[in-house]
Symmetry: C2
Subunit: 438 residues, 2 copies
């Protein structure tokens, strides 16, 4: 009986052991499936990388995790948010991550400071103390290494064999989704640069408007930020702004670039351009989010009193984003330098916007425009010379908006800060700083 009991006990023990193993394996699979389904939902590369790093930190129970992406063209590894901060880049053969790229093998270092492959310089710079590291290659479906996972400082003890296997399994899942996100991002970049190229080629047809479409997009985006518009609205606005004058491609060059006064007929021909913009942009198969672009882009010459063109829409009939374009469009036209003259005086420009408030422009957007910080205005105005702007001046101007500038104008005799503000802003607005360097 004793023997039989013993046998039973052994059997039960072995069943229990198998069960425990299965359960562990089971938990692992559940975890992987959870991670796969979580990360497959994110197609924006930077968000995806943060998500992956957060998941890995939690799964491996460690303090930090970085994902380094291999840029084969430049022979570099980069990380968007290594340690949750800005992008870092380094030659693809350096450090632990470089070792992983070179060997294609997992590296598990239980004690960083006793391992020659570890470079303690970063710790020295950051004050962080690395104890242990687990690094694994990330491979795509073709088996090519596309990046490296690096987990640092396991909370309890060092990384174990099971962690290595887990990280390896996660790597495969992550690599696929990172490649998907890269594909998507590259396509978006191509689209964006195509739109920008279009915009600049249109502007280039008329030397007087060079850079106009880019600037109107930047001003409109500043307005969008003042108004806390959503990312999606900002994107619609940006594309609409860049393409708002595309219809000018159908305007006869002789009229577009005519030096003297336009005849009434010529003026009418030019006034067709928003309508051309609409017709052309409607041929583009915009995604659902960008469906409104043709209408918004084509309504930048409407006026809230209904006297605008091409459709003579009134106030609430005009898309709000077109109202933003109207303000930005006029502001840029008036503040653009000409070959033969400097910009219109700033106070006069603002006065024109205020005078047009309620007839040409929706007052709400003119008021919002006045809340744009002065450093932003100067950066856009002087886009071509942006490296020549004094960083201290920009920091100073970033504390004030147009409302402050107008107030300073009235108070310039009394306050030192007001004087300084006027002096610095005018230096850039009147382009005196360029003479400084000549």
């Amino acid at each position: 009986m004793q023997e039989s009991s013993l046998r039973h006990a052994e059997e039960i023990n072995s069943y229990l052991k198998a069960l425990r193993h299965d359960l562990r394996e089971h938990e692992r699979l559940k975890l992987l499936l959870y991670i796969a389904s979580t990360i497959s939902q994110e197609m924006k590369l930077d968000k995806l990388l943060t998500l992956i790093m957060d998941e890995v930190k939690q799964v491996l129970q460690c303090d930090r995790c970085s994902v380094f992406i291999l840029d084969r063209e430049r022979g570099e590894l980069w990380s968007h948010v290594a340690h949750g901060e800005e992008e870092i880049r380094f030659a693809a053969h350096l450090g632990i991550a470089g070792h992983v790229v070179a060997t294609g093998k997992v590296i598990n270092i239980p004690d960083a400071y006793s391992d020659v492959r570890f470079n303690p310089n970063i710790d020295k710079q950051t004050g962080y103390r690395t104890q242990n590291i687990l690094a694994a290659p990330m491979r795509n479906k073709m088996g090519e290494i596309i990046g490296v996972f690096q987990a640092i400082n396991k909370f309890q003890g060092a990384f174990i064999r099971e962690d290595e296997e887990l990280l390896d399994a996660i790597s495969a899942i992550a690599a696929t989704q990172i490649e998907n996100a890269q594909l998507y991002e590259n396509q978006k970049k191509t689209f964006d640069s195509l739109v920008e190229t279009l915009a600049s080629t249109i502007d280039a047809r008329d030397p007087l408007t060079a850079g106009h479409s880019k600037r109107i997009a930047l001003y409109a985006d500043e307005l969008a930020k003042v108004l806390h518009l959503s990312d999606q609205e900002r994107e619609i606005l940006r594309i609409s702004a860049l393409l708002h004058d595309y219809g000018k491609i159908a305007v006869r060059e002789a009229i577009l670039t005519k030096d003297g006064r336009l005849t009434e007929e010529e003026f009418k021909h030019i006034q067709n351009h928003p309508q051309f913009t609409r017709v052309i942009l409607q041929k583009i198969n915009f995604s659902k989010e960008l469906q409104q672009v043709p209408l918004i882009a084509a309504s930048h010459h409407e006026r809230i009193d209904g006297t605008g063109y091409p459709s003579g829409l009134r106030d609430e009939q005009i898309p709000p984003l077109s109202k933003i374009l109207a303000v930005a469009d006029v502001y840029d036209a008036l503040t653009s330098k000409r070959h033969y003259r400097n910009r219109m005086r700033f106070l006069q420009v603002i006065d024109i916007l205020i005078q047009g408030s309620g007839s040409h422009f929706d007052p709400f957007y003119v008021d919002a425009f006045k809340k744009i910080k002065l450093d932003r205005l100067v950066r856009i105005l002087e886009d071509e010379y942006v490296e020549q702007l004094d960083p201290d001046d920009l920091t100073f101007m970033s504390k004030f908006d147009i409302v402050d500038l107008l107030a300073a104008q009235h108070n310039s005799k009394t306050f030192g800060a007001a004087k300084r503000l006027l002096r610095i802003f005018n230096k850039y607005y009147n382009r005196d700083y360029l003479h400084d360097r000549l």
Copy 2:
């Protein structure tokens, strides 16, 4: 002792049961993880749908599987490859799939012909015999139904509870990836239509070249098909063809549309357009696959004897895809109708290509061009009137290429088929068919 043995036996039994359950659950998780990792690798929507349907068929051990995608805008369900054939579309409330969309619930029908929701008409049309059906909604991360899974004819018996659960789990995984693929596809569509719009606006500046960029892209693609170029090469060629004249935006309109003979200086100015094309396209952040587009597009006026422009490249210095553009460009220019005249005679056009072979053109591509089927040529030539082409004529012409047509020309007195070929082709080429309808 008996009692104790019994207790042991019961315990062991219950352990075994638990173990079996775990193992089954374990297999299920492994399967789901495998499916997740397989389908996450596919970003092309049509391939993805086929892949998902294949996986489900195998996992559920059934004869057929369809994925219906919900098109909310049109209120329709569609399937790319239902039953492995062409796209079908129907109102989103119809059939079993419509029930699933309306109720959001899984439908498991063990005997189709005894269920009122089943519509036997499709079986009648196709001769297929549906026995049992399992249909489940596909939901995205927001819980919205984006489509319906439909599995038909389980190999052994009907679908069971476990199949339902499995399909439900796969649905969630599939929905995410389908949305990713749709996102990617929509972006691609927007990009493509933007490029096409660009191309047509450029062509529109000069009435003589209306539609030219689109046609050169179509001719080039026919050449690509004759030469069995890869999908990627065809894509590079298509984009390059559509944008090859984009530099004309920088050519002065007065010269571009001048009626009389150009002065030497004016001609030189026009000859700058490929160089402008290159400069402009180089500003676009093309993906790695499309990096060659600016160079290929800009080299369409190079000649293999080195007398072309802008760079005077010789034979092997000219990118092969540019050599294709050169042939397609000249062919389209010569076969384009003008307001004041019909097309140049076809034999004369081909003669010019052959005469230019070895000096202007690479003979390899002229020979390939002659292998394009005549129905394809006619479709592109008469793109605007494509609905007026007689399908029977097209089918007939699809059996012959330019080589055949040239041979027919020599043999027209002897062979009936040759005569017919010449008569039909000339009817379209000389646009006599348009008079037929007037």
